[in-house]
Point group: C2
Chain length 210, copies 2
Amino acid sequence: MTVGKVSERTIRRLSHYARCLRHTRTEGKKIVTSEYLAKRCGISSAGVRKDLAVFGEFGKQGSGYDVQSLLANIERILGTGKPSHVIVIGAGNIGHALLESGLEGTGGYNYSAIFDTDPEKQGKICAGTVIQPMTELREAIKELGDVIAVIAVSDGEGQECVNQLVEAGCNAILSFVLEPLDIPEGVELRYIEISTELDILSHSLMLPGR
Amino acid sequence: MTVGKVSERTIRRLSHYARCLRHTRTEGKKIVTSEYLAKRCGISSAGVRKDLAVFGEFGKQGSGYDVQSLLANIERILGTGKPSHVIVIGAGNIGHALLESGLEGTGGYNYSAIFDTDPEKQGKICAGTVIQPMTELREAIKELGDVIAVIAVSDGEGQECVNQLVEAGCNAILSFVLEPLDIPEGVELRYIEISTELDILSHSLMLPGR
């Protein structure tokens, strides 16, 4: 899959570099080498240098990359670095856990609102944020501007939730729901798939030689 | 990345087929076509037929695949289909959300135990399961056999947690922790990366034409 002109794999690596650089910055480090980034991100240092050269970043021989400017440039490419609104649909276990865990250290993302269809939950507070009814969705998205919506509703409610999000003008969705979802052209949808990750690990456990 | 002889991408698609077939089974459907699987999994029907042919599954022209036997064969390849133990390290927000959400519909996985380093939490009940101290880890893994460990500890505690898991004989780990983790050869580690998924979506939002 290609995300615009930059492939998804590259975006993924850049995201890892950015995360690592933020860690590094909090440790007070000003300069990193490609070897350091490579080791922390689990790829080859030649790979790191190649990635960064594509985006016009050249580390100095023997001294490395400036943490602050490298991070700023990667965040510019990623489109992160400015605060970005993330809204959560579904104030169940996962929704609560997400808001309570927060998004610190992720490059400016914030959980800005949470919604639920259950009138029992609406008006209650989840990690400092009022749970809103779905009828407020359109108004909230209009106010916030570009948002990424995280779907953490019950299995079987995912499609209706996506329909309402798209209708309300949201075009970037991250789903924790197991069911496959239909989206119109122009909407980006990604899945957090715990069960698929377990399948991949499970498969690796039964390989010969283990 | 290749997982044994079958590529990770293929395993991922097989996992999607399996999930879709389980859904289909609960709906009482006995036969599916490649077109149906393709639509539900978001790939081409030629792709589905090619995947399944590799594993010796041939749908009948005009009638399709038998749901039950196709699912059994895919689960055999994946190594799922029998109950598999998943343990959780960290009884915080994410750990609680995982156990409370459960793993129904995922092909036999079960959260079998949960551990935490915090003496305040140990002995308390999380979704019907007693929170155990990390000192019980080795004994628990010995008793359960092959386990997949999900790490949901605080940022900064991930590496120590991995070290203890590996030491206790666990060789398949799924991490919710943001920090990059070092593992010895022979241990499989995967990440659930909410922040990377947000970065990929965020990048797509700023592409021209949106």
